[in-house]
Each structure stands twice: as C-alpha cells, then as structure tokens.
C-alpha cells in the first residue's frame, strides 16, 4: 500500500508512521507531516480541485486525512479581495486581502487547522480533545468538537478577552482559565497531554493541525488564477502559519499547478511581543523569548514554537519582518474597516499596520502583487476600541433636528479635513 503521508522528524528525518505524536524521541525535535508528492500528483490537480467542495476540503489530497475520511467540518475558502482603497492610503497599487475574518464557523483561520486536527482525533479514537489557546483556537475547537460530539478541555490565559471566553463556553466546552500568559498555558498543556490520553490539537496532534494552514496558501494561488503573488504579509504568533503557507506554495510548484517564481514572505508582530521580528531584524534564527505586553493577545506568544522556522523562511525568501505599537494596531483596525469594509481583530490590525510600513519603507514596491492575510474578526476584540467613538447626543424625531445634525456634522468634517491638510502641508 502506498503511504500518502506520515510523520517525519524535521531534523533527523526519522519517520514515525501515523500516531498522535509531535516530538521525535531520538533528537527531541518537532515532527511534521511529510507527503508522498508522487502519490499526490495524480490526485492533486487543478481539475480535481475545481470539482471539490466549496471549502478547504477541496485540497484534501494534500491534507493528512485518509482517502476514506468524510469531512464534517466545512471551513475555509474565504474571499481574496482586491483592496484598492486601502492600497491608495498606504502607497500600494496591487494589494489583495485574504479575508479569514469570515472563515467559518468561528471567524478565524483557526477553523482550518482545527478541522484537520479533529479529523485526526477521530481517526485515533480520542473521545476528548483540548488545546491551549489565546482565544481563536479555543473558539474553533469548542465549535467543531461540539459538531463532532467530542468532549473538550480548553485552556486559556485567565485575562483573555471576554468575547473569546463567551465564544468558547457557548458550545458547552469545559474552559480552564489559567493564571499566566499563553506560554504558561502552553507548557501546562504539554504536561497534560503527556499525562492524559486526550487529543490536544496543538500538542500531540500538532503536526496534523499545522497542515491545515496550508489551505490559506492553496486558496490564494487558486483565487489568483493559479499563480503566486510577489509578496505575502502574514501575522506571526507561534510562527506556524507563515511556514505552512510557504510549504503550500512549494507543493504547488512541485506538482506543477503554478509557475515556479519567488515569493517574498513578510512577518508581522506587535512590538509588545516580537521575538520573531526581533530575530529577523538581528539577522539570526535564534529566538529569544519575551514576556508579552500587547493588546494583540491572539499574537502574544513570547516563546514561539515555530519561531526559528518562521525566521528562516522569511530570510530565505528575501522577505522581512516588522512590528508595530498598540496605537498603530488600533489605527490600522479602523483604517481597514473604513477603507475596505473589513472589521478585523487586533492581529489583523498588526498585519495591516505592518503592511503599510513595508510600503512606506520601500520593502514592498507599489506595483508588486501583494497579499496581506487577515486572520480574525473584530467582533471578538471590541475591547480595544473602547472609547474610540463618542456617542452622539440623540436628536428629537424632527426633520429640523436632523438638518441641524447634518450641518454640524459637515462643519466638523470640514474642520477635520482642513486640519488634515494643514498637518499634511
């Protein structure tokens, strides 16, 4: 029988077949899923994909699930949008947004990775699944586990945004709030996964889980008419997404679905938690852990598991990494919403602000085809906009009141516009 895919050590290349395992017991390096691309060659074709379902499972021939698996968790196939108004604001002329703010069912790209992880949890016979999470993953595991009838233990930092806590509990998940930051939660999860026979999506199921991120890359290529962009800007927390999009592009090239052309990878972090961008700027792939302090809590991983690989992927592609302040993050959330009608969470503010800076610093040229990845929805992090908008005084239900309102509104808009011109001049 042909082995379509199996676990392999990233460093010593030892193979492990298929089991719930993420660490090589020879060299203690991470395991990943390696595909037999020759086997995939006849199955992963443009034609086969076009006949697949209108979700991420259209790429199943390069996802770690058996041929017999019947997907029950549709996710992905989110819009790739031209972004001319944001582009005009930031000096770009050929900018696209991959909008996972509307990824179903829980409004973040984590729905993709969880779909693959839970498919494998079922294959391995786990009746209980769990994760450590900064929020979006918690939501995705809770929702999809409910759909599959799996029990859940979900660990999050105690100070997580209330919307992300509610969006986990509503699915009946067992939520465990842990004192400390994500890195504390993650370490505890490693110990739990060692002790209990559960499927932890980002611990013992992590190699399978991570492959789900490739679908972001597959979709971008297909939506561009089976071609690769010049540049891609990706938010970085643990650093996995950027490496898996790169893996996806590499697989598409290897199988002849797209022309082989260089893509530069750009990573985005918040300055208050920027271990990977710091490493890139310092020209190293050694990650120095940080204590996170940023409103971008979904990116607040101070000791990123894939940081070294992310830094290496960025450097090898000729890309760069940047980090932005909390004030810039909030401004960018507003700018993206006002220009393109996309309300993203703080992580998307990071990506948008970093994208703007990359153009401003000349690291990306205006005419290059550039895709910026929005990975989560603003409805989950409304806290960061508290106080940003003063409530207007209510008017009486009279046309004259409304006319006065419009006059005042126009006057203040004009003032703001004049102030803007004076500032710009």
């Amino acid at each position: 029988m042909t082995i379509a895919y199996q676990l392999q050590c990233r460093e010593c290349k030892r193979t492990y077949g298929l089991q719930p395992l993420s660490i090589c017991d020879e060299c203690f390096s991470p395991l990943e899923v390696a595909f037999d691309l020759d086997y995939a060659r006849t199955r992963f074709t443009r034609e086969a994909i076009s006949q697949g379902p209108l979700d991420m499972w259209r790429y199943r021939a390069l996802l770690p699930v058996p041929d017999t698996y019947v997907p029950q968790t549709p996710a992905g196939l989110t819009p790739l949008l031209a972004a001319p108004r944001l582009a005009a604001h930031i000096g770009a002329r050929n900018l696209y947004i991959k909008n996972d703010a509307v990824c179903m069912p829980t409004l973040s790209f984590k729905d993709r990775v969880v779909a693959v992880a839970l498919a494998n949890a079922q294959q391995f016979g786990f009746d209980t699944v769990g994760c450590s999470s900064t929020g979006n993953l918690a939501n995705a595991v809770a929702a999809q586990a409910a759909r599959l009838g799996l029990k859940t233990f979900i660990l999050v930092p105690a100070d997580l945004e209330s919307a992300k806590i509610l969006n986990t509990q509503v699915y009946g998940a067992t939520l465990v709030r842990v004192e400390g930051n994500y890195d504390h939660v993650n370490r505890l999860s490693s110990q739990i996964a060692d002790r209990y026979n559960w499927g932890f999506v980002n611990v013992n199921l992590r190699p399978y889980y991570a492959e789900g991120s490739k679908t972001v890359g597959f979709e971008i290529a297909e939506q561009l008419g089976w071609r690769l962009p010049d540049n891609i800007v990706v938010p970085m927390a643990g650093g996995s997404l950027i490496t898996k999009i790169r893996k996806a592009f590499g697989e598409l090239i290897a199988l002849g679905l797209v022309e082989d052309r260089p893509v530069r990878f750009f990573g985005a972090q918040a300055t208050g938690c920027s271990p990977i961008s710091t490493a890139v700027k310092n020209g190293t792939d050694q990650i120095e852990p940080q204590r996170p302090n940023t409103i971008a809590r979904s990116l607040a991983i101070g000791n990123p598991a894939d940081g070294m690989y992310a830094a290496r992927a960025i450097r090898n592609s000729g890309g760069w990494a940047e980090d932005v302040s909390d004030i810039e993050i909030v401004s960018a959330i507003q700018e993206l919403a006002e220009t393109e009608g996309i309300f993203t969470e703080t992580a998307g503010g990071v990506t948008t602000a970093v994208t703007a800076r990359l153009y401003a610093h000349g690291r990306i040229q205006p005419d290059e085809l550039t895709v910026t990845c929005i990975t989560g929805n603003g409805l989950k992090t409304t806290d960061c906009l508290q106080g940003a908008y003063e409530p207007h005084k209510a008017i009486r239900p009279r046309l004259s009141d409304f006319e006065n309102f419009v006059d005042e509104h126009n006057a203040s808009s004009q003032l703001l516009s004049l102030a803007g011109e004076a500032h710009a001049g």
Partner: protein, 93 residues
C-alpha cells in the same frame, strides 16, 4: 536541598520510563550533567553533533522559563520544581 525534576514522555524510552527524579544540582549545568550520569542512554539524544544541548529542549523552574531567571546562572532553591519540556513546533523550511 533537592529539587524535583519532571521529565517529558519523549525522554522515557531512554530513562527506563522514569518520569521524575530528585536532584541536588545547584544549577542548570550541574542538573544536565546529573541527568546524563543517571541516564547514560539519554546522553547521545540530548546533545547534537556539536556537543551542545539540542535547541528544542526547554527548562522551566516552577512557573518560569529558566531563561528569564538567568539561565545557567540561576541557583536552584529548596523546593524548586524543574520541568523539562521539548518545544512543540511543526515548522517547515
């Protein structure tokens, strides 16, 4: 003044399934040396070809990454619990 040291599942193949030891090591270098003495089968797996400890192995003291506490300079205190945990990454070149 011994410290309690918890070893990960990934080590157990090389430690005859021992998951926990008590150590009188004063600091991290002494602890690593003691682990290697106690489990000779583990030693070739702990270090890369360059002789350095493999980069994916992390040490925590109580609730903190030992790198935040001074790393090799940190002196273990009575009652410390030391966790050895490999990084969990799934990266790709």
């Amino acid at each position: 003044m011994p410290v309690r040291v918890l070893l990960p599942n990934a080590f157990q193949k090389h430690t005859n399934n021992v998951r926990e030891i008590s150590s009188a090591a004063a600091n991290l270098p002494e602890l690593i040396a003691e682990i290697e003495r106690q489990f000779p089968a583990l030693r070739p797996h702990l270090r890369g070809e360059d002789g350095h400890l493999r980069r994916f192995i992390n040490f925590y003291v109580n609730e903190e990454d030992i790198r935040f506490l001074g790393n090799e300079k940190y002196s273990f205190k009575e009652g410390d619990e030391v966790l050895v945990i490999p990084s969990i990454a799934g990266g790709s070149n």
